[in-house]
Amino acid sequence: MSFTYLITRPEHDDTTHYLSNWSKETIKLAEERGGKVLDLHGERANKSEFESKMKKFSPNIVMLNGHGNIDLVMGHQNQILLKAGLNEDLLNSKIVYALSCKSAKVLGPKSIQAGTLSYTGYEDDFIFVYEPELFSRPLLDKTAGLFLDPSNTFIESLIKGNSVRESFERSVNVLKKNFNKALSTLESDPTTARFLWWNLRNFRAHGNLDVSIE
């Protein structure tokens, strides 16, 4: 299966450091599956590079890591990469996932109007808990994993050729499983449950949910 996967991975603060490192797994999987990966990491997660790669390669899947707001998603040092009313047409014919705050509220629906196949993200702030002593080894941070593993599930499922609908459901199921685990097991921290629930509550998919890269 031939496909192109573009991912933005700013890494200028604790939050983006975690998102960037946890999403490396999706890059590995895309490469294993024979996909072309466009990894806009660190300083490369800037508007000029993003627009250039989007126009030149027209990726099938776009994953946006970074801070955001209802109508925008940002990159390195919070430079705006995408903004409703400005350049959402860049997402035309793409399957998009934004691990970013609030952008599924306005940017998501606006991008669908502009021709995006599907836009999945969060309608309110994305919250996660982490263990600062594991900052230099974020993938060993099981607390952060409760939040970021469900996110990876969504993209990994898309890369495997599943539809947005199926990928969304798989991601929700992992979130629910982690939520129940947080609430019910002694080894987990029950205080994380409220934040897992918050993310679950705000997770949204817009557009045609039956599309896939196959």
Binding site: I127, V129, R201
Partner: protein, 73 residues
């Protein structure tokens, strides 16, 4: 509608602070564009009515409301 836009009662603040205090001290919480916080910083935010304090009150109250309505099991 939303309560966070109204004056938050002292009772609600105390409830939220008690719940935040249960978070282990070795953990931090990333809350979107607000940044990353220890539980002590969040508790301060609730006490003094900062923007992140208002946000965490909203999260806690929504969670408790869902729990009461049986959405959270």
């Amino acid at each position: 509608m939303s309560e966070e836009k109204q004056e938050t009662s002292e009772e609600i603040k105390e409830l939220v602070i008690a719940r935040l205090d249960a978070i282990p001290s070795n953990k931090k919480i990333s809350i979107g564009n607000y940044g990353e916080f220890t539980k002590e910083e969040l508790i301060e935010g609730v006490k003094f009515g900062s923007e992140v304090g208002k946000k965490i009150i909203e999260v806690e109250l929504e969670f408790l409301r869902a729990f009461k309505q049986g959405i959270v099991k």
